[in-house]
Symmetry: C2
Subunit: 146 residues, 2 copies
DNA sequence: AACTTTGATGATATTGGATATCAATTGACA
DNA sequence: TGTCAATTGATATCCAATATCATCAAAGTT
């Protein structure tokens, strides 16, 4: 049971938290749906299949904890709820999102070409950057045809 | 009464909308507080000073309309509400935000150096980019000292 | 293995930002 | 000035997210 090479139980212990069945089950669901951007309610739906006694509040709490220990990222696509995805490894930073304003589909951009820009900003503004979130809005190829 | 060189009343008319006292007052407040990132409730507070009969629902509706006609941008700093700022002119695209994870202060990065990156993405993913939102998280100079 | 401590859980009430409703009002154009 | 559709204010409502609290279960400890 490890995430990004780190032991899951150890990550929790560092925060004084316990490894529970429910937390394990939520992590499983996130792994099984990597590449998707699940809302808390959606995670709840999937987790209930293998852990029917779990409560919605627990999923909310779990997702919040997972964000704190930095194994997931919170996403906001302006659809009325927060969505989540597994964090990528430390080294390769992370990807960006392309959001089609016509069909609302969200795609991933695997590259992360902000290194140069970040360095410029760090120097000019004396601001130590630890993370970034980038969204590009526009029209996807499919919608462009129509 | 114009925004970014466009006539405000004309912008509204194109959408079949009327120029009302309330909409004028909200725009005034946004102009008087440019550089800030006001929430709807905050806008409501300021507008009421000069237009005490205005209702909160109207501010919510107005802000939504202003976003549709692209004279303001919606911001999300994960503080439980949406915030807004006047859009910059079309040509110089817009700025980014630096968010200090220690003191939660939000600063502006005036440059927009994503042109090159956008072109790469447009070609590789066949996606026509019309806008972007970029947030950098980290530690500001003040918090770095402590 | 039973005990103990303390964090975690599930059910549910509550919060709070945002939206829907609707009668009354007002801007825009003839 | 009259007409009509868009707009407004007040308020009810929605719903994602959080708070509450009694019960439960990890993970040490003896």
């Amino acid at each position: 049971m490890n995430v990004n090479g780190m032991d899951f139980k150890e990550l929790l212990k560092e925060k004084g938290c316990k490894l529970t069945t429910q937390r394990r089950a939520v992590l499983d669901v996130l792994n099984e749906h990597s590449g998707e951007h699940l809302s808390t309610e959606e995670i709840y739906g999937y987790v209930k299949e293998k852990c029917p006694e779990i409560g919605l509040a627990t999923v909310y709490r779990t997702v919040q904890l997972f964000e704190e220990i930095k194994i997931i990222d919170k996403l906001n696509f302006d659809d009325g709820c927060s969505r989540y995805e597994l964090s990528s490894n430390e080294e390769d930073h992370h990807h960006h999102h392309l959001i089609c304003e016509v069909c609302n589909k969200v795609m991933e951009v695997e590259e992360d070409l902000l290194e140069g820009l970040e360095e410029q900003i760090e120097n000019k503004y004396n601001f130590k950057i630890t993370n970034h979130k980038v969204k590009f809005y526009g029209i996807c190829s499919k919608c462009m045809e129509s």
